[in-house]
């Protein structure tokens, strides 16, 4: 302990005598204050432990204070006409409070006969909760029906410790309709509990795992309530000390039209693919179907490992949302872009004919037109109406891959549409730079030929193609797809109103868009058009077919579709808008591994468009419930 040297450096300021007097008075007052505070502690301990001690001891021995949590119901999801699509309903569960149980073996045996479950399965639940406080209820049996509830209620006096709890559960009014858009719920996990998004959620509650349920979790989630109750030895409530009622979450009004959605899904029955439609004037989504659907109800009960692996390994791939996660070659629907580029870049006079012989020789290869006999003399209008590959091979060659890519990107391909849902894929617009980086080999000009008709490296999502056809329909505007019209609180107050968002404009003049629309009208309405299957008698429809090759094997070329193995069959595309004069609906249909766009995908689009326009002329809702959770 060093002293020398430093001693002098330290200032010492002593008290002067007058100050010492004053400070001593202050110390006296402080001492009195401290004594008073400790006297209060003493008195309080005396009061709690000696005067009220017996009372508190009794309360602690009975352990009679319980907290009963009541989760807040999630808000409803409604369609654009106010139809409730997803709602919350009360569900009953049977629980057990170990604290109140005398003979747990006997009790579980008795319960198992009432619930028609094996005692072992009930034991399993009890063992799983062994680390929970003994006064917390353990859920033994979820979502039991009213008869069982009545039965248990009747025998409750002989089973102290058994409680019946009410919780809100998700009810899918129209079964699995729009399942991918809504998304499923899952029980909250430890990691999520710590996150900001789930701050009002308690363990054991269900939260949105994907889709809109997740995106709007904060709006949909209710606020849990609960009460502090005093119970007797049998676990029955004697008195309630405080009660906070749970609060429902907000309702979400979608832009979706449930009738169109149903028609779209019905038309896709037994098939795999996507149907997505929107109002091209503002980007509001009208249908959003990814087929086959997933069973949302099943997720509420918790999927078994086997059920999960069944979903993962299903060849129809039900899990991903194909509208934004399915990436396919666009096939001939891409000719819309090649056509726009050819017009804008003036690589050809649209009235100048070329001669299609059925074969397009390029380099040391020959590229075939789908019409082997050839289309003969083809100008631009006929080229698009008959979907002549020869004509667009030539356009592609004249444009070159870079210009093609520029227009594809201008139409929003190659990048996500930035919808609110997760895991949106960006598709692929190939360029020479991309190929060099990806495959370390330079671009072959022949590949440009394939790109021009939507084969080769091109990849798009159904939503991207919907944006392409919408932009053609609405004069070139790329709208951000919008799902939600407004969020409304339980008492009807609008919490948030959503507005259309314009992302960009396509680099095509109004005049050229007009030419394209005219061509697309011909595809559906002219005698040799490939989209005749989408013709409507009341409204003029414009559209484009597409058939996307999955493999280019000569062995599968001429065969009947059904003779080809499923995974090698072509994908069928159809994109359309109507009415041609003043478009108010645009649609993209993709049917996986099914054959030709004109014969497979176009009728699906037709069904939706027909419903849209017939409903418009007779606006009463035609929706029929296809079965909710209660009917199952």
């Amino acid at each position: 302990m060093r002293q020398t040297g430093s001693k002098r450096d330290l200032r010492i300021r002593a008290f002067d005598p007058a100050e010492i007097e004053e400070y001593h008075r202050r110390f006296d007052r402080i001492t009195v204050f401290v004594i008073v505070v400790f006297a209060v502690f003493f008195a309080r301990l005396w009061y709690l432990q000696i005067i009220k001690g017996d009372e508190y001891l009794k309360r602690s021995e009975r352990n009679c204070l319980r907290i009963q949590y009541m989760p807040g119901p999630r808000g409803d999801i409604l369609d654009r006409h106010g139809q409730v699509l997803v709602q919350s309903r009360p569900s009953f569960s049977i629980s057990l409070v170990r604290e109140d149980v005398k003979d747990i073996n006997k009790l579980l045996n008795r319960l198992s006969s009432l619930l028609k479950k094996s005692p072992a399965s009930l034991w399993e639940k009890v063992v799983a909760a062994k680390n929970m406080p003994r006064y917390m209820p353990i859920r033994l049996c979820e979502d039991v029906d009213a008869d069982t509830v009545a039965l248990v209620e009747m025998h409750r006096f002989e089973m102290p410790g058994v409680t019946i709890e009410i919780e809100p559960k998700r009810n899918y009014v129209y079964g699995n309709m729009a399942a991918h858009l809504f998304g499923y719920l899952g029980e909250i996990n430890e990691k999520e509990l710590k996150g900001e998004l789930f701050k009002n959620v308690r363990l054991g509650e269900f939260v949105g795992r994907c889709g809109l349920e997740k995106v709007y979790q904060a709006d949909l989630a209710g606020i849990g309530g609960g009460r502090q109750v005093e119970v007797d030895a049998a676990g029955r409530v004697i008195s309630v000390y405080g009660d906070i009622p749970p609060v429902s979450g907000n309702n979400i009004h979608l832009t979706l039209d449930a009738d169109l959605q149903r028609v779209a899904e019905d038309a896709m029955a037994g098939r795999s693919g996507a149907v997505v439609a929107m109002d091209p004037r503002n980007g509001k989504i009208l249908t959003w179907a990814s087929c086959p659907n997933i069973d949302l109800e099943a997720f509420l009960h918790g999927l078994s490992r086997k059920e999960w692996s069944g979903l993962v390994n299903d060849p129809l791939r039900p899990l991903p949302d194909k509208v934004i996660q399915g990436q396919y070659p666009p096939g001939s629907t891409y000719k819309i872009i090649t056509m726009a580029a050819a017009l804008e870049e003036k690589v050809i006079d649209p009235t100048a004919p070329l001669y299609c012989s059925g074969y397009y020789p390029f380099g040391n290869r020959v590229y075939r037109c789908w019409e082997e006999k050839g289309h003969g003399s083809v100008a631009m209008h006929k080229g698009i109406v008959r979907s002549c590959d020869f004509y667009f091979y030539e356009m592609g060659r004249r444009l070159g891959v870079k210009r093609l890519a520029r227009y594809a990107q201008g139409f929003g391909l190659g990048s996500p549409a930035k919808v609110e849902l997760e895991h949106e894929k960006s598709g692929l617009v190939p360029t020479p730079e991309w190929k060099l980086k990806r495959f370390k080999v330079p671009w072959q000009e022949g590949e440009t030929i394939s790109i021009a008709i939507g084969q080769g490296f091109d990849l798009v999502t159904p939503l991207q193609m919907l944006r392409v056809i919408s932009a053609v329909a609405n004069g070139g505007v790329l709208y951000r797809p919008q799902f939600v019209e407004k969020i409304v609180s339980l008492d009807g107050k609008i919490i948030k109103q959503f507005k259309p968002i314009i992302d960009s404009k396509v680099p095509v003049s109004q005049r050229n868009l007009e030419i394209i629309r005219d061509g697309l009208a011909g595809v559906v309405n002219e005698p040799h058009g490939t989209g005749g299957a989408c013709r409507l008698s009341t409204v003029m429809v414009g559209g484009k077919t597409g058939t996307a090759q999955v493999v280019r094997l000569p062995a599968y070329r001429e065969k009947n579709v059904n003779a080809i193995p499923y995974k090698y069959r072509d994908h069928a595309w159809f994109v359309a808008f109507a009415p041609v004069e003043d478009p108010e609906i645009a649609i993209a249909v993709l049917v996986e591994h099914s054959g030709h766009g004109g014969s497979i995908a176009a009728p699906v689009a037709r069904a939706v468009l027909e419903e849209y326009f017939s409903k418009k002329s007779s606006p009463e809702a035609t929706l029929v419930r296809t079965g909710g959770a209660n009917d199952r």
Partner: protein, 369 residues
């Protein structure tokens, strides 16, 4: 060679009381973790490690003349502000509050040490700024600033309990060093009018705690429940308690935070009125002995510093015991030496080390310059 006078002037009773309290604390933490499953049982061991580390720090603190601290005050203060800022950027978040800095497996709470640093800064300021007839408003601007900076940083974490303690410490010290009547009344008026403003700054859950203290029936699920369970635990201890390791309230997990904020409830339940009173008396002795250190220091810095440390420990005590006994809202403040907490142990024992330091160097100053 150690000067023999250090030994004869050493405050052995103060050290004895502190050791006794620390031992009771470890004993109590063993019980608090006793029936709980899993990791909780090692809490008392971790507390022992922390106490050992704190003891080493305490010895280091004894080894130099405490008056050096007056010179170091700006650096100590600046260092603690830097760690508080660091906590906001790289701090670990535990149950919604970002209060901890991690060094490998060690976790430290800078706001604990900030209290001590602020006390040192305040004592140093009042020591250097000598005013004969009480401090006026302009003299108090600097101390207000000294407290406001860590106060704001700690409120942001958020840690309402610690930031409130800072205000209590400031108020105690200002009243102690003497304030002009005019300044006192102005500050009182200003303080009262700013209550609604401060209220509006509180987080919802903090408002709820105050509300549930004033109207317990409003929050039966949150702090109202905790307060009631704590009262039941304390009350059910009666005269002799339920016996060590036999507290049923705490064992059945009715009590939240039984290692930290509600450690005293566990103790009161198991040791009853007799035990609780013993503990309270030990704290009373601790405060009185600390007061003696302040009173008997022969120079001003020692007096101011000792008083500041005393105020820090005292207010911890008042807020925690008041909360456990249902006399105050539920605010997360540890009970020095009894609650689990490494940062709290280090801060408290460093403070005690400074008190012992002031006390044992008293003799050197018997003749002023």
């Amino acid at each position: 060679m150690i000067d023999r006078r250090y030994i004869t002037n050493f405050d052995w009773p103060l050290l004895g009381v502190v050791l006794l309290l620390s031992m009771l604390g470890v004993l109590n933490l063993y019980s608090a973790g006793y029936s709980a499953t899993g990791s909780a049982t090692t809490v008392y061991l971790r507390q022992l490690y922390w106490l050992g580390l704190s003891g080493v720090i305490m010895i280091v603190v004894l080894s130099f003349d405490y008056r050096r601290i007056a010179e170091w005050a700006p650096y100590i203060y600046a260092g603690s502000i830097i760690t508080l800022v660091a906590v906001l950027f790289v701090g670990k978040t535990v149950s919604g509050s970002q209060r901890w800095l991690g060094f490998g497996s060690l976790v430290f709470q800078p706001s604990e040490l900030a209290k001590l640093a602020t006390v040192i800064a305040l004592a140093s300021y009042f020591y250097h700024k000598d005013v004969k007839k009480g401090y006026g408003l302009s003299d108090l601007l600097a101390p207000a600033g000294i407290v406001l900076l860590p106060f704001i940083l700690i409120v942001k974490e958020p840690d309402l309990g610690t930031s409130l303690l800072l205000l209590f410490i400031l108020a105690s010290m200002v009243l102690f060093v003497g304030i002009k009547w005019g300044a006192f009344l102005t500050l009182l008026g200003f303080g009262l009018t700013s209550v609604p403003f401060i209220w509006s700054l509180l987080k919802d859950y903090q408002k709820k705690r105050v509300e549930s203290f004033l109207w317990p029936e409003r929050d039966p699920l949150g702090s109202g429940y905790h307060a009631l369970q704590s009262k039941i635990a304390v009350g059910s201890g009666k005269i002799l308690g339920k016996g060590y390791l036999a507290g049923s309230q705490s064992k059945l997990d009715f009590l939240p935070e039984q290692h930290t904020d509600f450690a005293f409830s566990v103790f009161a339940e198991e040791w009853g009125f007799m035990g609780s009173i013993l503990l309270i008396i030990l704290y009373f002795l601790l405060i009185l002995l600390a007061l003696q250190v302040a009173i008997r220091s022969k120079e001003k810095f020692g007096t101011f510093l000792a008083f500041g440390i005393l105020a820090m420990i005292f207010w911890h005590l008042v807020v925690n015991v008041g909360m456990v006994l249902g006399l105050m809202p539920v605010v997360g403040v540890p009970l020095p030496l009894i609650s689990y907490g490494g940062s709290s142990a280090i801060t408290t024992l460093t403070g005690i080390g400074l008190l012992l330091n002031i006390r044992m160097r008293r003799f050197m100053l018997q003749k002023g310059p």
